[in-house]
Amino acid sequence: MKHSVPFLCFRALSRLSAVLVPCLVLTLMGYLFWRAFPVLGPKLLFGRVAPLDAVLGRVPVWDGLWPACVGTFWLVLITMLLAVFPGVGCGIYLSELASPRQKRCLGAAVDMLAGMPSIVMGLFGFMLILLLRRTVMPNANTGLLLAACCLALLVLPVLVASAREAMAAVPASLRLAAAAAGFSRSQALFHLLLPAAARGILGGVVLAVGRAAEDTAVILFTGVVANAGLPSGLFGKFEALSFDIYYISSQYQDQQELLRGFGAAAFLLLISCLLLAAARVLERGFRRKWQGKA
C-alpha cells in the first residue's frame, strides 16, 4: 500500500518522539542523580550533627535537610487530616447519593478546582490572613496550619475523583446482592460498598499525599521560610523540602550548599516516585479483586 506524505511524516515523527521524550527526561533525571549521588547518605539529612540528637530535636541542624523533611512531614500530615474527610465524603456523595442535578453542579465545581493553578490557593491563604488582620486578629500571621488548609483545597479534587472512581468500580452484583439480602441503601453503602472500595480510596489518598508533598507555589505564600529549624507549632513558620530546593537554586552560597540542593531534589523525586508506585499497587490490587483485570 502506498502512503501519503503526511502519514509518513506522522509515522516518522511518532518514532522520533518515542526516542526524544525519554531521552530528554532521562537526561534531566540522570544528571540530577549523577550530581546528587556522592552526597546521598545520612550526612545529607543531618549535616554535622549526630543523627540521634537531630531526630530528638536536642541539637538544631543548620547544614542538613532534616528540618525541611520534618516540616514537609507535618505539613502533609495536617493537610491529609483536613482534606481526607471532606474529599472522600464528597466523592462518595457524588457517586452514590447525588441527584443528577447535584452531580452536574458539584462535579463542575470540583473540575474547576482541579484545574486551578496552585498559586491561586496560596493567594487565597494570603488573603485570608489579610482579612483576619483587618478584622478580628490584628497579629495573625502565616504558618503551618494556614499552609495545610490551602494545600487541603489543592488536593481535594484528587481525593474526590479517586473516591468517586473507586465507588463506581465496585461491581453491580455486590449492590444487587445487598438489596437481595435486605440491606437498606445506607446499610449497603457503609457496611458493604465502602469496605469493598476502601483499597481504591486509599490509593487516591496516597496519590494526594504525593501532590501535597511536591507543591511549592502554595506554601510560598503561606509561611514557608528558608531557615526556620523544626516547626515550632501549628502557627509557626516552617521549612519544606520543595521550597528548600527552590531557595538553594536561586541563593546558594557555596558548592556544599549546591550539592545539598541536588541531594534534596533527588530525594524529593524519589519520594514522589515511591508514592506514585504505592498508589498504583493499591489501585491495581483493588481492580484485580473486583474486575479480574489489571
Partner: protein, 294 residues
C-alpha cells in the same frame, strides 16, 4: 465482612449516622470551594472598579514610580502557555499514537512498556525538581549554544512543554483508546496497521478529544509557577525574542509577595489572581463543552 462492619462502626448499624457524616463532609468541601472563589473575586473587584492611572491595566511595572501595570505579565503568561502547547501537544499526540500502535498488540515490547511507564512517572515529578535540573543543565546549554543569559522565554517554554506532555498523553489515551479498539478488528481484517487506522479513521473523528487535550495542556502551562519563576528570567517587560527574559503572571505573584509590603502592589496581585481564575474557568468551560475529562 464482620471485620469491615467493625471498621465502619461510626456509620451506625442502620447507616443513618454515616449519611449525616457524608452530608457534613460535602458541606465542608463546598464551603471551602465557595470561600476560595468568593475571596478571590471580592479582593479583586475594588481594584476593577477603581481603575485610573497606575492601576493594573497598563503596560509598565515600576513600583518606584507608582506604576503597577500587569499587562506585560498577562501577555507573558498567554505567550508561554501558547508556545508550550505547540511542541507539547504535537509530541504528546505522536507519543500517544506510538504507544497505542505496536506492531503486535499482545507483545508491546520492552521499550514501549518502559516509555509508557515513564509517562506515568512524569505525572509525579515535582515541578520544582524539573526546574532545578533545568537551571543547571538546560539553561547553561542554551546560553552556550544560542547566546543570551540562558534564563529566557525559550528555556521556560521547553520545560513547560515537557511538563504538560504526560497530561496530553493521558487525556488522548483515554479518548482515543476506546475508539481505536472499536475499529481495530475490522481494520485488521482490511489489512490496515494500527498506525494507519489511527491516522485515517480515529484522528479525523476525534476533534473534541484533540482540542480538549490541547486546552488542558494550555491550562496547566499557564497555571504553573515554579518553572517560569526559576527559568524565564523575570524581567517585567514584553519579551522581544525567544531568547529574551520575560515574566508570567504566576511568577509575578510569587515575586510580589516576597518583595513588596502592601498597597498598590498587592492590588495588582489580587487582579492577577482573578485573571488566573478566569483563564482557568474558560479552560474548564471549553473542556466541558468538548466532553473530554480533566
Amino acid at each position: 465482612m464482620r471485620k469491615a462492619g467493625v471498621f465502619f462502626r461510626p456509620a451506625g448499624r442502620s447507616g443513618e449516622a454515616g449519611l449525616a457524616f457524608i452530608r457534613v463532609a460535602v458541606a465542608f468541601a463546598m464551603a471551602g470551594m465557595a470561600l476560595l472563589f468568593l475571596m478571590v473575586v471580592a479582593f479583586a473587584l475594588p481594584v476593577f472598579v477603581q481603575g485610573g492611572g497606575g492601576g493594573p491595566f497598563s503596560w509598565s511595572w515600576a513600583p518606584g514610580r507608582g506604576e503597577f501595570g500587569i499587562l506585560p505579565m498577562v501577555a507573558g503568561s498567554l505567550l508561554a502557555g501558547g508556545l508550550a502547547v505547540v511542541p507539547g501537544w504535537i509530541m504528546g499526540l505522536c507519543l500517544c499514537c506510538w504507544l497505542m500502535a505496536p506492531p503486535c498488540v499482545a507483545r508491546p515490547g520492552l521499550w514501549r512498556t518502559l516509555v509508557g511507564a515513564l509517562v506515568r512517572v512524569m505525572t509525579a515529578v515535582p515541578t520544582v525538581v524539573y526546574g532545578f535540573a533545568a537551571v543547571f543543565l538546560l539553561s547553561p546549554f542554551i546560553r552556550l549554544s544560542l547566546g543570551g543569559s540562558g534564563f529566557s522565554c525559550l528555556t521556560a517554554v521547553i520545560m513547560l512543554s515537557v511538563l504538560i506532555l504526560p497530561t496530553v498523553v493521558l487525556v488522548l489515551q483515554a479518548g482515543l483508546g476506546p475508539r481505536l479498539e472499536a475499529v481495530a478488528m475490522s481494520g485488521a481484517a482490511m489489512g490496515l496497521s494500527r498506525m494507519e487506522l489511527l491516522w485515517n479513521v480515529v484522528l479525523p473523528v476525534s476533534r473534541g478529544t484533540l482540542l480538549s487535550a490541547a486546552v488542558l495542556g494550555f491550562g496547566r502551562a499557564v497555571g504553573d509557577t515554579m518553572l517560569p519563576l526559576m527559568l524565564a528570567g523575570n524581567a517585567p517587560v514584553m519579551p522581544e525574542s525567544l531568547l529574551s527574559s520575560m515574566r508570567t503572571l504566576t511568577a509575578h505573584m510569587a515575586l510580589v509577595t516576597s518583595n513588596e509590603v502592601g498597597g498598590a502592589a498587592y492590588d495588582s496581585l489580587f487582579m492577577a489572581g482573578l485573571l488566573l481564575l478566569l483563564i482557568n474557568g474558560c479552560v474548564s468551560l471549553v473542556i466541558r463543552r468538548m466532553g473530554g475529562r480533566s
